[in-house]
């Protein structure tokens, strides 16, 4: 059996606060730079438009890049694959995503909400008011995408059948329906923006409630320190998401909320230790710095083991899961690491610095000693 104990050691974490803070700031600033110069990989949910999802069963010899290029061009108007955009209707296609899972390759062709029709640019997110139009009262984009679904299906079937004869030569259309799946969907970003807005408001209120609770159970300085550590974790998460260009979508918002709910715990455990030492007479002469170092050191085993066990599950999830879940798991992994980093290396130091700032260093809870003696 193993024993992971840091008893008797006292890591001088608070004394090296500025080094740890500098590392965090460097990551955050670098992340900000990436966002400014390269931008976040914003998922389709954020912008209005549509996607056409084509899922093909994997087989040897399938050239997914050729397939992707062919149908990007097809949507852009080049229906016969000869390099000219001869079709009257030309979609705005960008950022096609290819992902593989469970023996299938999925192509996500993304269409913007504007289309060039007979040389005229149209905004498809507008609702048609002309009663004579067959698209009356139905969003244009939905109608267009409905139409395109059947056309692209016919073309994909004949393309796959003629190009990969050994695989699909024998199939009729009903047979193709079994192995190829085509799912179009349209995206109205007002819905997404609403979800984000409520998520933000909810997260802000949740943080405020946690802050009040910590202020009530601990001290107001502990509350502020915990919330600062929490904000650090979220910023690091966003920075890492920018570095690795992980898509920012509704799932990412959920990941941030997840970390907000989780990361506060680690900090509370450390502040709980500080609170306990503050109430222990033998620590009366100890400086804030030493007390904080002691608290961090004595909760280190817990910090390591808990982070490790939670990481194990989420890393396994990332390993086993298809792309969609992986996009969700990565930000959580960043957040967990950031949370462990901030609670162990930053939170107690922030507490010490804030106490100094507000001239409370060395102060002990009022009335505590008399109570102890009476007991």
């Amino acid at each position: 059996m193993l024993n992971l104990s840091f008893k008797g050691k006292r890591f001088k974490i608070v004394n090296k606060f500025y080094i740890f803070l500098a590392i965090s700031l460097a990551i955050i600033i670098a992340g900000a730079a990436v966002i400014i110069f390269k931008g976040l990989n914003v998922g389709i949910d954020f912008s209005a438009g549509a996607t056409i999802e084509v899922t093909v069963n994997d087989f040897s010899g399938f050239n997914s890049n050729e397939f992707k290029d062919r149908y990007e061009n097809w949507l852009k108007g080049d229906r016969d694959n000869d390099g000219t955009t001869e079709n009257a209707r030309q979609f705005n296609v960008s950022n096609t995503r290819i992902s593989s899972a469970a023996g299938q390759t999925t192509f996500e062709f993304r269409i913007g909400s504007t289309v060039t029709e007979d040389g005229k640019v149209q905004d498809l997110s507008e609702i048609v008011k002309d009663e004579t139009s067959e698209y009356y009262n139905k969003k244009l984009l939905v109608a267009y995408v409905d139409e395109i679904k059947d056309e692209i299906k016919t073309d994909i079937y004949s393309y796959l059948k003629s190009t990969y004869q050994s695989e699909y030569g024998e199939y009729d259309d009903a047979g193709m329906d079994e192995v190829i799946e085509i799912n179009p969907h349209t995206i109205d970003n007002s819905v997404m923006l609403y979800t984000i807005r409520t998520a933000f408001i909810a997260a802000a209120v949740a943080i405020a409630v946690m802050l009040i609770y910590i202020m009530f159970r601990f001290t107001w300085i502990s509350g502020i320190a915990a919330v600062l550590a929490l904000m650090h974790d979220v910023l690091i998460m966003i920075a890492c998401t920018a570095f690795f260009q992980i898509p920012v979508n509704s799932v990412f918002i959920a990941a941030i909320i997840t970390i907000i709910g989780y990361s506060i715990n680690a900090t509370i455990i450390i502040f709980d230790k500080i609170r306990e030492y503050m109430n222990t007479p033998s620590f009366d002469e100890t400086s804030d710095t030493d007390l904080a170092n002691e608290a961090v050191t004595n909760t280190l085993t817990r910090s390591i083991l808990t982070t490790l066990t939670t990481l194990v599950v989420i890393v396994l999830l990332a390993l086993f899961a298809p792309a969609t879940i992986r996009e969700f798991a990565y930000p959580i992994i960043f957040g967990l690491l950031a949370g462990a980093y901030s609670s162990v290396l930053l939170s107690a130091s922030i507490w010490v610095k804030l106490r100094k700032l507000f001239k409370q260093s060395g102060k002990r809870p009022v009335g505590r000693k008399t109570k102890k003696r009476a007991a």
Partner: protein, 431 residues
């Protein structure tokens, strides 16, 4: 507790865990003999409790649509509750009982339907305002959907599918007047034009004035079409017209993969956690591992029982997070026990004091998470709400598991170990 009693209780606990573990996660066919014994139908398949948890379309696949009132009617005061109940009736009539309808925005709705094959059918079902009108050739409306009590799928004299309408008392009178007027009208073409919204569904030629409380709409329908039409007519018209803003069909195959993969990851993850806990905390770790199994079973059963739980992607994150917190609570308690023992207490005392002192820590850290999840539950929308519910339930059950169950299992294990300190991996602090 005697050694024998503790062994008996442990074996019973083990059997119960095994039984409920199978009940929670295994799907299997029940042998015919057993079916007969319980008086059930033969070839009965048992569906695991986990599979009975209602799952969102991001996991199970399906279809969703966001419905917004058309621009012209945006300023009106809209009673969405009426709309929701009308749509609910339509979906239930079509058999989509697992569908959810939620307010997405001040005046838009989001409808999610797991397990849909035909998206067009659903679009029709939802977007049709459902204004049924019987008109004559001049466009005069004689009868409307308000006069229809209910509608269902039947067959016409040729055996084709048809929609049968049953009129209300007022409708029965109107029907007689209407057919009389259309059949005998001065310049009438004797044709009754049946419209649903702006679409002409059927235009039968009358053979005479009709009486009676029911009528048929024929039109060479497929069964599905007739069923949708009947559902739309039965539910009544929506107060306003809606347009479908966003639609998405999510493939079910991807969904299935997500759930089974996530389950496998969680299962392997649990085994690794057990190994880590036992490696560091010996007998205490073993007790915690048993408690964690009980926790998982309780959690799955409660998720299946709570009607407003719908498992989604973020919901799975909530579950993982609460597993993490259950382990965390155990680690905090065990660290405290080690600390107390190291400081010189006896094993029994260290355990007693450790649980008592660690309770405050566990309580404070878990309560902040519970508060946050309640706020999210109330204020957030859609999938974030699903996350909040699973997290809330998970944290409460995890507190119970780590504080009550772990301690109880430790009591059961106690008589089995000769050297308590070694069994629990406790060491004295060196002087």
């Amino acid at each position: 507790m005697s050694k024998r009693k503790s062994i008996v209780l442990l074996v019973i606990t083990g059997l119960l865990i095994a039984f409920f573990g199978v009940a929670c996660f295994a799907n299997f066919a029940i042998p015919d003999g057993l079916c007969k014994f319980f008086g059930a139908q033969p070839k009965y398949n048992y569906v695991s409790i986990f599979d009975q948890i209602s799952k969102g379309i991001d996991l199970e696949g399906g279809y969703y649509a966001v419905m917004t009132p058309t621009v012209e009617e945006e300023d009106q005061e809209i009673n969405l509750d009426n709309v929701i109940s009308t749509l609910r009736t339509r979906l239930d009539d079509k058999g989509y009982t697992e569908a959810t309808i939620a307010r997405q925005d001040v005046n838009s709705l989001r409808v999610e339907i797991p397990d849909v094959d035909d998206a067009d059918e659903v679009l029709e079902l939802l977007s049709s305002q459902g204004k049924l009108e019987f008109r004559d050739k001049n466009g005069t409306v004689w009868l409307s959907g308000d006069h229809v009590d209910n509608a269902y799928v039947g067959r016409d004299q040729n055996g084709e599918y048809a929609v049968v309408l049953n009129f209300t008392a007022a409708g029965t009178n109107r029907w007689a007047t209407a057919t009389e007027a259309v059949y005998n009208g001065a310049d009438s073409d004797k044709i009754l034009y049946i419209y649903l919204g702006d679409t002409l569904v059927s235009s039968p030629t009358l053979q005479g004035a009709l009486t009676g409380s029911s009528a048929q709409i024929t039109g060479n329908f497929e069964y599905e079409e007739a069923e949708t039409l009947a559902a739309v007519i039965s539910s009544g018209a929506l107060d306003i017209e809606f347009s479908i803003g966003e639609t998405r069909q999510v493939s079910a195959t991807l969904g299935e993969g997500v759930v089974s993969n996530a389950l496998m990851a969680a299962g392997i993850g649990m085994l690794v956690i057990f190994a880590i806990l036992i490696l560091f905390y010996g007998g205490m770790g073993l007790a915690a591992s048993i408690a964690l199994m009980i926790y998982v079973i309780l959690y799955v059963v409660i998720l299946a029982l709570f009607p407003w739980v719908q498992l989604t992607f973020p919901g799975i994150a909530g579950i993982i997070l609460s597993i993490g917190m259950a382990v965390d609570a155990n680690v905090i308690i065990f660290e405290r026990i080690k600390e107390e023992y190291a400081a010189g207490k006896t094993v029994d005392n260290a355990i007693k004091v450790g649980f008592k002192r660690a309770f405050v820590t566990v309580f404070d850290s878990n309560l902040t998470t519970i508060l946050a999840s309640i706020v999210l539950w109330i204020l957030a929308s859609g999938s974030i709400q699903g996350f909040a519910i699973t997290l809330f339930l998970g944290v409460i059950i995890s507190m119970f598991s780590s504080i009550v169950v772990t301690r109880w299992i430790m009591k059961l294990l106690k008589p089995l170990a000769k050297e308590q300190d070694k069994f629990y991996n406790l060491v004295r602090r060196e002087a």
